[in-house]
């Protein structure tokens, strides 16, 4: 039995490829498996080609990538269009539509001859049992359920429910198509060791969602009652979820006329005292930066989510990249600091979004959440989250005494000044993008500007010691340290597990707070290792370079970085780990370099 199963399905748009993947991962989640599903489309709005990748395992799935255990091609032209996204190896079980007329020993797969190939009359079975080609995807899930033993009962119940509205005949037809898939699999068995093992003992039902919906749900939990934004791939689902939900909580979603108006309305709602959020991606983030500066100087809380995609400019809207970190850290002109947080998975998105609201409210600042296309749109099983452990922070309001002599931007010891809002008697003040004194009055005084700048930086000092926003995994004594963030941290985690299985000693630092750079955390980490490697999905390796602005990173800390849409694979990281181990062994007689030259 296998502990880990990767399925890739491709076909024409309208073949129901993604819907098939969703049925499978839903059934798996109900049974207690862990899983991640990603989908990919051609650039057409409708039609064109569609594919999904599904990775199911008995242990937590850290990363959706890897060569396919099963490849399903509803037609070969569309399958081939996905190239590296659906890598077939000789061990891959290939299942394809007989209608394609391709002989099993003449598959159009360059340089690969899969050992197990099934040519299945998928559309013929669909027509025969359900009376329509549309049931092809139902046959496919029947085949996969049959071979790998996933969710037969729940999928059958799901099919009956899904088609119930279309009449008993349609529902039963689809149920028969599913059954036919099961029977075909039964008649053409695969080897026992290829089947997926049962979920780990006590495997319980998981939550199942994607990063965008998780982000939106976390915002509701955090008490957000205002969202304004502009549709942009791949972040739009955040607005769509909130539009379905936020009104029920007395909140409002405004689809703004442009990205600037979107964050502008959020700045206004925050000034009016509400927890507010916007979400965008690449080009939209570029447009929003002036407003981020305004919110920083007016010290107004807000959360701005940037679902990163390939850039610059329009770039690659449907592909993940980690290339907006510099922009997040240095967004808007002037001397300024805005906290930047990044989730590493769909599950992580919940706590990171709640933390973003808490930091925004506490420090009266915009907070940027750097998601990425992969986290935002992949479906992932998530362990149930105990929301009772989260504390929600509200902005510091002025007391009656403070209102008697109210100074909105009072230079306090912490740098945090009590904030009023319209409607609060005695709290009147002028908020402004222009530099101001403690009362909020415009000033051109260099001395006041210096003091206000210092206040606006000083208030963040405690943030750099938030070690709970960093995770260190692996062997704490290991001489080799990896650093990775965002969705790529999952790749690094998987590589770490592979390394441990080989007996290599390594550890991994995953920052969820990317900016301000927490100098003590990195200094301690690099002081404890002799070799290091940043792993990032961007051409420049932006975290590596950002950290080096603030921390004297030892010379033996290197970078594995690559542009988006070419995912870094765990085995590549493993290869680098092996090289580092060898280098250390070859080096043990030499004097060790001082790990931190601080």
């Amino acid at each position: 039995m296998s502990e880990d199963l990767i399925i890739g399905i491709a076909g024409a748009g309208g073949d129901g490829v993604v819907s098939a993947g969703e049925s499978l991962i839903t059934a798996a989640a109900l049974e207690g498996y862990h899983g991640i599903m990603t989908k990919s489309f051609g650039s057409q709005i409708r039609g064109g080609e569609a594919s999904c990748r599904l990775r199911l395992a008995t242990r937590p799935v850290l990363n959706p990538n890897g060569p396919l255990d099963v490849a399903v091609a509803l037609n070969w032209e569309d399958f081939q269009r996905f190239g590296w996204e659906l890598p077939v190896e000789s061990a891959t079980i290939v299942v394809y539509e007989s209608d394609t007329g391709v002989a099993p020993d003449r598959l159009p797969l360059e340089g690969v001859t899969p050992a197990v190939v099934f040519s299945v009359p998928i559309s013929e079975m669909a027509r025969k049992h359900a009376g329509t080609d549309k049931a092809k995807n139902i046959v496919v899930i029947g085949l996969l359920a049959g071979w790998f033993g996933i969710g037969r009962e729940s999928m059958l119940a799901g099919i009956r429910k899904k088609f119930a509205g279309k009449g008993a005949a349609v529902a039963e037809g689809n149920a028969r198509a599913f059954q036919a898939g099961l029977e075909f699999a039964g008649a053409h068995p695969i080897k026992e060791d290829r089947k997926l093992a049962a979920p780990e003992a006590g495997g319980h039902s998981k939550l199942l969602t994607d990063g965008n919906d998780m982000c939106a749900a976390a915002a509701i939990f955090a008490g957000c009652t205002f969202f304004a934004g502009y549709p942009i791939t791949p972040s739009t689902e955040i607005m769509q979820f909130l539009d379905r939900e936020i009104w029920k909580y007395g909140g409002t979603v405004l689809q703004a006329e442009d990205e600037i108006a979107g964050i502008g309305a959020v700045v206004g709602a925050s000034f009016a005292g509400k927890k507010a959020m916007t979400a965008t991606s690449g080009p939209g983030m570029s447009l929003k930066t002036e407003m981020l500066g305004l919110a920083s100087i007016a010290e107004l809380p807000l959360v701005c989510v940037n679902v990163q995609r390939g850039g610059p400019s329009t770039g690659m809207p449907t592909k993940a990249e980690q290339s907006d970190l510099f922009q997040a850290a240095f967004s808007a002109h002037g001397d300024c600091l805005r906290p930047v947080l990044a989730p590493t998975s769909v599950g992580d998105m919940f706590s990171v979004t709640v933390e973003a609201f808490n930091l925004a409210e506490y420090y009266q600042t915009p907070v940027i959440v750097l998601s990425d296309q992969e986290i935002s749109q992949r479906k992932e099983t998530v362990e149930p989250i105990d929301t009772s452990v989260f504390r929600l922070i509200e902005r510091r309001r002025p007391t009656e005494t403070e209102l008697a002599k109210y100074a909105r931007f009072k230079l306090t010891e912490s740098g945090i000044s009590p904030i009023s809002h319209p409607g609060m008697a005695g709290g009147n003040y002028l908020a402004a993008g222009i530099e101001h004194n403690e009362l909020g009055r415009p000033t051109a005084s260099g001395e006041m500007h210096a003091r206000m700048n210092e206040k606006r930086f000083r208030k963040f000092d405690p943030l750099k010691n938030r070690r709970d926003l960093f995770v260190v995994e692996g062997d704490p004594e290991a001489p080799i340290g990896l650093v990775s963030w965002g969705s790529v941290a999952g790749v690094a985690r998987e590589a770490l597990q592979l390394a441990q299985a080989e007996g290599l000693h390594a550890k991994l630092l995953v920052p969820k707070l990317l900016y301000p750079v927490a100098e003590p955390v990195y200094q301690d980490f690099f002081a404890s290792v002799r070799r290091g490697l940043f792993i990032e999905q961007s051409f420049q390796g932006q975290l590596y370079r950002l950290v080096r602005m603030y921390v004297d990173v030892p010379a033996q800390v290197h970078l594995l970085a690559r542009s988006g849409s070419n995912p870094i694979q765990p085995v590549e990281v493993l290869e680098r780990l092996r090289e580092m181990v060898l280098a250390l062994q070859g080096n043990h007689n030499h004097r060790q370099p001082d790990p931190v030259a601080d």
């Binding site: 749900a217 009104w247 029920k248 909580y249 405004l254 108006a261 309305a265 206004g268 919940f350 002028l430």
Partner: protein
């Protein structure tokens, strides 16, 4: 801390109650002084307490005005007062929201937002101080400068026709469109008050002369000579066709008063929001149970 919506007895506030103690940076004789006075008179007549008023502006000479008003002020960035003001109004519909802008802030850099606040009909009062010039940056061409106008950025004369703010806003479908001038202080205060009382988005264009960079025919003296009161003309503000025709005369005639007041204004955005809140409230699960949405179901 709550926003009260109870009517305030008339005469409770004086215009002076709405003046802040900041000294304006405007040039002596600037039309904006008159606009400030008219706004404070209108606010006194309305009678809402200063802390229930949000006064939002962008950047420019005119956009300094919230600082000189006793209210919650927000002097934001260039061209973006309208989106910010809409966020404020939607977040707290009980507030009285005023927006101040100029011809450059409102119809050049921020011009794209006007159509959208109009079609949403968000109940705020948009006051544009139109002086046909960029004053704060010292005399460059503005979107309402006339063709042929010579400025430091149009040394050989402007090659562009001006924007017609009245016609634009009429064209977008606004339900309240008025024009005033500090040359008629009483009339100006009245139309601002009417605009604030109007149940929906209200636009008031004010011919507020720039003493320093403005042309002779834009100054108070010239305005007094050419001003035509719409009321005196017997203009019917419910007549949209006539209002549109007279809006078209912007730049050639100076009408003051209420050009158009929709007798049957569409519902405001806020009304729609309030109704939706009532309709959907019962469907809310407790916030801490929101993740139950993600329980799988085949």
């Amino acid at each position: 801390m709550m926003t009260t919506l109870e009517p305030i007895p008339a005469g409770k506030y004086q215009p002076g109650d709405f003046k802040s103690d900041l000294k304006p940076i405007w040039c002596p004789g600037c039309g904006d002084f008159g606009v400030l006075t008219a706004i404070t008179r209108a606010l006194a007549a309305i009678g809402r307490p200063p802390h229930e008023i949000a006064f939002v502006s962008g950047i420019g000479c005119s956009s300094r005005i919230p600082g000189y008003t006793n209210a919650y002020g927000f002097n934001t960035v260039h061209g973006r007062a309208l989106p910010i003001a809409q966020g404020i109004k939607l977040a707290n519909p009980g507030l009285l929201v005023l927006v101040a802008s100029g011809d450059g802030d409102g119809f050049s850099i921020g011009g794209g937002h006007v159509a959208h606040v109009v079609r949403r009909n968000i109940a705020l009062t948009y006051i544009v101080m139109d002086n046909q010039i960029y004053g704060l940056t010292k005399g460059q061409l503005s979107p309402t400068s006339r063709r042929g106008r010579k400025t430091v950025t149009s040394n050989f004369g402007s090659l562009e026709d001006p924007v017609n703010p009245l016609l634009y806003v009429m064209g977008y479908g606004a339900s309240f469109v008025a024009q005033g001038s500090p040359a008629d202080m009483g009339g100006l205060a009245r139309i601002i008050e009417e605009g604030i009382r109007f149940p929906g988005f209200a636009f008031i264009n004010i011919q507020s002369p720039c003493m320093t960079y403005g042309e002779e025919e834009q100054q108070i003296k010239a305005q007094k000579a050419m001003m035509q009161s719409l009321e005196a003309l017997g203009h019917d503000p419910a007549n949209r066709a006539l209002a549109t025709e007279r809006a078209g005369e912007y730049g050639t005639r100076l009408y003051t008063g209420i050009l158009y007041r929709n007798p049957k204004p569409p519902p405001t955005y806020g009304q729609g929001v309030a109704e939706r809140h009532v309709a959907l409230r019962k469907q809310a699960v407790p916030r801490h149970e929101i993740l139950n949405r993600f329980m799988p179901e085949n």
